[in-house]
C-alpha cells in the first residue's frame, strides 16, 4: 500500500529518492574531501575506504528499507495507535516494519552499491573463491545485523517511549563508524563494536580478510567468516527482546 501510494506521485518519488541518494552521499563526499588532503587514512587507501563505505552503506540501506520505520514505534506507543496494530491478524512486527514503508530509501542502496562498484574496480585485491563468496555473504549478514539492531531498538521503545534517538546512535552512529578503518578508533571502541554490539561483523572483519589488511585486535582468522552465524544469533536475541517488549506493552490511559 505504501509502495503504491508513494509511486502515485511519480515526480515527488523521484525527487525524494534523488534527495535521499544525495543525503547519504554527503558522507562519502566528506571522505573524498578528507582524501583531497591525504593519501592514507588509518592504513587504508581511498579505494579501500570506499570498499568499507560501500559494503556498510549497502547493508545499512537494505536494513533501513525493511526495518527503518522502527523508530516510529515510540510515537505509536505514546499516542496509543499501536492498539490498532494489535487488533489485526498480522504479526505486529511485520506491520510496524511496513508502516510508511519508504521506497525512496532505495537511494541509499543505489548509492552504496555505486561506491562499492567503484571501489571494486580500483582496489588492489588478490581474489580467491573464498573472498568472492564472502562479499555477498557479508552484505546480507550485515543487513541482518543492522535489522536486528533496528528491532532491538524498537523493543527498547516499549520501555522508553521518547528515546528513539538512542537507537540512532547505534544504527546511524554505527554505520558512520564502519565507514572508517578500524585502526582509526580507540581499541576499546573497536572491542565494543566487536563484542558488545557486534557491528564489526557487518563489514570490518570480512573486509579485513578480503582486503588482506591486519586486524587491530588480532582476532583469530575464522571470525572473518562468522558474520552469518553472528547475524543469526543477533536476530534471535532481537526477536526475544521484541516479544518481551510487546508483552510489557500497556496501552496509554490504562
Amino acid at each position: 500500500m505504501w509502495v503504491r501510494s508513494t509511486l502515485a506521485y511519480r515526480v515527488s518519488f523521484l525527487l525524494t529518492t534523488v534527495g535521499n541518494l544525495a543525503a547519504t552521499g554527503l558522507d562519502f563526499i566528506t571522505i573524498l574531501l578528507m582524501f583531497s588532503h591525504i593519501t592514507v587514512l588509518g592504513g587504508f587507501t581511498l579505494p579501500e575506504v570506499a570498499f568499507l563505505y560501500g559494503t556498510c552503506s549497502t547493508s545499512f540501506g537494505l536494513a533501513d528499507l525493511v526495518m527503518g520505520s522502527m523508530d516510529r514505534l515510540g510515537q505509536r506507543v505514546r499516542d496509543g495507535t499501536l492498539d490498532t496494530l494489535l487488533l489485526r491478524p498480522v504479526p505486529v512486527l511485520a506491520q510496524v516494519a511496513a508502516d510508511r514503508f519508504a521506497l525512496r530509501r532505495l537511494g541509499r542502496i543505489i548509492q552504496g552499491l555505486g561506491v562499492l562498484g567503484w571501489s571494486l574496480a580500483r582496489v588492489d585485491v588478490h581474489w580467491t573463491v573464498g573472498s568472492v563468496a564472502l562479499l555477498p555473504l557479508m552484505l546480507l549478514s550485515g543487513a541482518a545485523l543492522f535489522s536486528a539492531v533496528f528491532v532491538a531498538g524498537g523493543a527498547f521503545q516499549f520501555v522508553a517511549g521518547d528515546a528513539a534517538e538512542v537507537q540512532n546512535s547505534v544504527t546511524y552512529g554505527g554505520a558512520t563508524m564502519l565507514q572508517y578503518p578500524p585502526a582509526v578508533f580507540a581499541r576499546d571502541l573497536v572491542r565494543g563494536v566487536t563484542f558488545v554490539v557486534p557491528l564489526a561483523f557487518v563489514n570490518w572483519l570480512p573486509a579485513l580478510h578480503i582486503l588482506g589488511e591486519p586486524d587491530p585486535l588480532g582476532l583469530p582468522g575464522w571470525l572473518d567468516f562468522a558474520s552469518p552465524a553472528v547475524a543469526l544469533v543477533c536476530c534471535a536475541l532481537a526477536g526475544l527482546a521484541w516479544r518481551a517488549g510487546l508483552r510489557s506493552y500497556r496501552s496509554t490511559g490504562s
Binding site: S12, G19, A23, L26, H37, G161, N168
Partner: protein, 267 residues
C-alpha cells in the same frame, strides 16, 4: 509589544523543555557521534597537522562545538518549520494571519526560544563530555565566551531566516518534503558540520565560507577557538548580522507576496 514576543520566546523554550527523556537520549546520541567523528579527525590531523589552520586540539574542539550547536541551529531539521509548512498546507495559516501579531516575528520568537533550550539542553553536556574525553582548546577568557554567545544568537537568527524562507515556499509547492530535505542537505554540508569549511579546497571553500550557512556553525566555532579576535571578531559578527538582515528582509517580502495568495475556503 516587545514583552509579548518575549513571552513567545519563553513559551518556545518551555515547550521543548518538556521532553526530558528525548533530550537525554539526544545528548547521548550527540556524544556518541562526537566520539566517532573525533577519532576520524585525529586520524586526519595525524596525517596533516594544522590542516585548515587548526591544531589537533582545535579540530577536536570544533567537533564538540558542532555537536553542541547541531540542534540549536537545526542543521538536520527539527526546527519549527515542519509545523509552519503543515499549517500552510492545511490552511490553518489563515488563523495565524488573522492574529494581531506579525507572522515572521512570531515564528522567530518561538524559534529563538527553541534554540535557547537546545543550546542548554543539548549543547552543554556534549561539550563537557568532549572536554573530559579529549584535550580541547577551549578559551578561558570570559569575553571570548560572550562573543561566542552573541555569535550563536546571530547564527540562530540566520538559521531561522533561511528555514522561514524555505517554509514559505509551501504556499506554492504545498508539499514540504523536498524542500526540507534540501534544507537538511545544505545545512549539513555548507555549515561545516561534516568537515570545517576551512578544510574545503579552493573555490568550493571560498563559496562555502561566504554562504549564510557559514554563519550557523563555522563563524561561532572560529570565534570560540580564538581565530577571530578584535576587529576580526567584529567583522565576523557583521558577516552574520548582514546575512540575518538580508534573509529576514527577503522572508518579509516573500511573506507579503504569499499572504496575498491565501484563499480561505468558505470564508
Amino acid at each position: 509589544m516587545g514583552g509579548f514576543y518575549a513571552a513567545v520566546v519563553v513559551r518556545g523554550f518551555r515547550r521543548y523543555a518538556t521532553y526530558r527523556t528525548a533530550t537525554a537520549a539526544g545528548v547521548f546520541t550527540n556524544t556518541v557521534f562526537g566520539l566517532i567523528i573525533s577519532y576520524s579527525y585525529i586520524a586526519l590531523w595525524d596525517q596533516r597537522p594544522h590542516l585548515g589552520g587548526y591544531s589537533e586540539a582545535q579540530a577536536l574542539s570544533y567537533v564538540w562545538i558542532s555537536q553542541a550547536l547541531l540542534m540549536t541551529m537545526a542543521l538536520m531539521g527539527g526546527g519549527g518549520e515542519a509545523e509552519l509548512v503543515e499549517r500552510i498546507r492545511s490552511g490553518d495559516i489563515a488563523v495565524d494571519l488573522y492574529r494581531p501579531a506579525d507572522l515572521q516575528t512570531w515564528w522567530l520568537a518561538a524559534d529563538l526560544g527553541r534554540a535557547a533550550f537546545h543550546l542548554l539542553g543539548r549543547g552543554v553536556v556534549p561539550l563537557t563530555a568532549g572536554a573530559l574525553l579529549f584535550d580541547l582548546a577551549l578559551p578561558a577568557a570570559p569575553l571570548t565566551w560572550l562573543l561566542f554567545l552573541a555569535s550563536v544568537a546571530l547564527g540562530a537568527v540566520v538559521s531561522f531566516a533561511v528555514r522561514f524562507l524555505l517554509a514559505l515556499s509551501a504556499f506554492w509547492l504545498l508539499d514540504g518534503t523536498g524542500v526540507s530535505q534540501m534544507a537538511m542537505l545544505s545545512g549539513l554540508f555548507f555549515s561545516g558540520m561534516l568537515l570545517p569549511l576551512t578544510v574545503f579546497p579552493g573555490f568550493l571553500g571560498e563559496v562555502a565560507r561566504a554562504l549564510p550557512w557559514a554563519a550557523m556553525l563555522q563563524v561561532p566555532a572560529d570565534i570560540l577557538l580564538g581565530r577571530h579576535r578584535g576587529s576580526g571578531a567584529a567583522l565576523a559578527l557583521a558577516f552574520q548580522a548582514g546575512w540575518a538582515v538580508l534573509l529576514l528582509a527577503a522572508g518579509r517580502a516573500l511573506q507579503a507576496v504569499a499572504t496575498r495568495r491565501v484563499v480561505v475556503q468558505g470564508g
